[in-house]
């Protein structure tokens, strides 16, 4: 914790000493120089008068020669005093002004203001390290869903962007290095309400040190980190990082899934989609030979997953030595027609432009499509500000590392059970996925389904819990029934039931709920709202369970009970 008062005192040391010495010499001179009073008698100025005179002289007020007119010697001294006092004051005031404008000082002020705001947080919050493409997207989603967060970024420009961004809630931002433990602590790492640290700095090394710092200083805080290489991921894992997100790996796995089980791909896409995003339609890529441009981290992941699907890829890579590309790789960037022709672009069924340069990726796809219009095109889009041109290029599938990472993290935070669900779903067959897709498609309209968690506990589902305490049965269909008409069920699909550490997929409506059960649902936004009402309101639950709409008022209740009797 930096102390501003100490900083000011330390900087003001020299200016203040100079002011005091100037005043002391001036006063002493006035006291020592002989003068005359109004009668012409020799007279000496006392300390009291001298201090008074120098005080008003130094502040340039100048009330005149008091108490008696000065002698020439006194005037000569006064002339010197005027300049000395003014200069020393200017120096002192100038020092204060310089200090206020000083970059370091302003940073200390901003740091203190940030730490103060974070200390005052009453609601659970997340620390987002890195406000780049992924970070800014995540912060927007957080604020739109009413989740509090704070931001740390090493780039001053990004923090300024955060300040001017039109977010639904104010998000405190700090321009600091998140790998420095002091800035993480100021951001509330040890705050009792801190729920997690999210490392999205764009550098594996930085994310790793964020994970280490967080896990060592606050072992209970959940840590999410983006990692783009196996080494870094393994290292993060050894420090107990809770969730390691590799966007290239996620994309490559999903892309491979499109070949062997398109419906499963849709399940994954929908469950991790953006807030209010339009439903993606299935575009199945043709199984045949593909051209893969760029054999970096992305290219390696894609090639590995595609080869498991039995799909052949022809590689184009400019730097074969650095990327350790296998034999048979065509040297070139892929932006020129000659390289593409060498890779037999007219014979293949698709092109994946996976270099780390957006302009090159676009150029590869457009050149390739000129040569072969029937190609399926896949592009890696590294920067989010190129959205418009990528959209205009009419590419079949666009991969954005930042949004994949951010979506994955958001899904894990909003519905912690989602990870379990996706893992279990992956073990199911295509037919199962087909059924699920049609069920989900039946309840949602145009926009991607909302995902939510429900825990049967006194805090989250008081009405259900009270029923269970009174040994009355509550079935899953009771809480997913429409509280306005119990014969209808809410537009939602129960995806997972986790009981005693065992997860089961797609629980049946007749399942009897138990305390401690955790459920995962997907469905329309209003279904979530209605379900929230049912699990909080005793009367609504009573109605959905039994069909009896009990009166709430005391008088009416008495009337109906006496009539029943």
């Amino acid at each position: 914790m930096h102390n501003v008062v100490y900083l000011i005192l330390r900087r003001m040391r020299l200016p203040l000493i100079i002011v005091i010495i100037t005043y002391a010499i001036s006063v002493l001179g006035l006291v020592l120089i002989p003068g005359v009073d109004d009668q012409g008698n020799p007279w000496r100025m006392g300390f009291f008068h001298a201090v008074y005179f120098v005080s008003f002289l130094g502040s340039t007020i100048g009330l005149g020669e008091i108490p008696y007119a000065f002698t020439d010697a006194q005037r000569m001294w006064t002339t010197l005093v005027i300049y000395a006092a003014v200069v020393s004051w200017l120096y002192a005031i100038g020092s204060i002004l310089t200090l206020i404008q000083d970059h370091g000082f302003r940073r200390v002020l901003a740091f203190n203001a940030f730490a103060r705001r974070v200390r005052g947080f009453q609601e659970p919050f997340f620390i987002v390290c890195g406000y780049g493409d992924a970070g800014s997207w995540l912060v927007r989603e957080f604020t739109e869903r009413g989740i509090a967060c704070v931001v740390i970024d090493t780039d001053q420009q990004n923090i300024l962007n955060l300040e001017v961004e039109d977010l639904p809630a104010t998000v405190p931002g700090l321009h600091a290095d998140a790998t420095d433990s002091a800035s993480l602590l100021a951001a509330g790492l040890k705050h009792p309400r801190c729920r997690g640290v999210i490392g999205l700095t764009g550098s594996d090394h930085h994310n790793l040190s964020i994970a280490i710092t967080s896990k060592l200083l606050a072992p209970d805080v959940t840590v999410f980190c983006q990692s783009e290489s196996r080494d870094a991921a393994a290292n993060m894992n050894s420090f107990g990082t809770d969730h390691i997100i590799d966007p290239f790996d996620i994309f490559a796995a999903r892309f491979a899934m499109m070949f062997h089980s398109p419906s499963m791909y849709l399940v994954y896409e929908w469950m991790t989609a953006v807030h209010n995003a339009p439903l993606t339609e299935l575009k199945s890529p043709p199984a045949g030979t593909w051209i893969l441009c760029g054999f970096g981290r992305f290219g390696k992941a894609v090639r590995e997953y595609l080869s498991r699907e039995g799909i052949k890829t022809r590689l184009i890579e400019a730097d074969i030595d650095a990327t350790q590309a296998p034999e048979g790789t065509i040297v070139g960037r892929g932006t020129e027609a000659s390289t593409l022709l060498e890779a037999e672009v007219k014979e293949v069924c698709g092109v994946i432009a996976g270099t780390d340069n957006d302009a090159n990726n676009l150029s590869i796809l457009i050149t390739a499509r000129d040569l072969n219009p029937r190609l399926f095109t896949v592009a890696r889009q590294n920067q989010r500000d190129k959205d418009a041109i990528f959209k205009a290029a009419k590419i079949d599938l666009i991969m954005q590392p930042s949004s994949i990472a951010a979506q994955q993290i958001l899904g894990l935070i909003l519905a912690p059970l989602l990870e379990d669900f996706l893992r279990l779903a992956n073990e199911q067959d295509e037919e199962w996925a087909n059924v699920l897709v049609s069920r989900v498609a039946g309840v949602v309209e145009e926009v991607a389904p909302e995902i939510w968690d429900l825990e049967i506990s006194p805090l989250y589902t008081p009405s259900v819990f009270d029923c269970l305490i009174q040994r009355e049965d509550v079935m899953l269909k009771d809480i997913s029934a429409d509280p306005r008409d119990r014969t209808l069920s809410l537009p939602c699909v129960p995806l997972l039931l986790k009981r005693d550490g065992i997860s089961s997929l797609l629980p049946a409506p007749e399942v009897r709920l138990r305390g401690g059960d955790r459920l995962l649902f997907c469905g329309r936004k209003d279904a979530h709202r209605h379900m929230d009402h049912v699990v909080h309101d005793h009367q609504a639950l009573e109605y959905t369970r039994t069909g009896i709409d009990r009166p709430t008022g005391t008088v009416w209740r008495w009337l109906t009970s006496s009539r029943d009797a």
Binding site: N3, Y6, L7, L9, R10, R11, M12, R13, L16, I17, I20, I21, A24, V27, L28, V31, G46, F47, F48, H49
Partner: protein
Amino acid sequence: MNLEKVFFAFFTILALTLNFGFFVGDLDNPAHHNAYELFAALVVSLIATIMKFGDRAHIGALLLATSLVADLQLITAAIIWGYTVNVMGAELTPHIISSIVSLSGGAFLANLISVLLLVVETVTFRR
């Protein structure tokens, strides 16, 4: 040798010695206590205080506190002197001068503690 340390010790000790110079003498005899000495003691004490600004160590805080005590006592003594002579227009009676000198005696104690702390800090300093 650190020049800052030299200045720091110089002003702290000078504040003590000047203070002592004013304080020493008969308590109620104005002839033993010179106004210039009080002025010098006050100015040096103020400078010593500012020298101690911004030191965040615990001993630094204690040094600053003793200096502030000395300033307070000396300023009070100077005000009593100035008020008696200039406002009341009275002579320095033994009663008045004794209260001025005893105030400076208090400041002397504070300055003494300050110097002691400085010595302690120097003795415990290891490199």
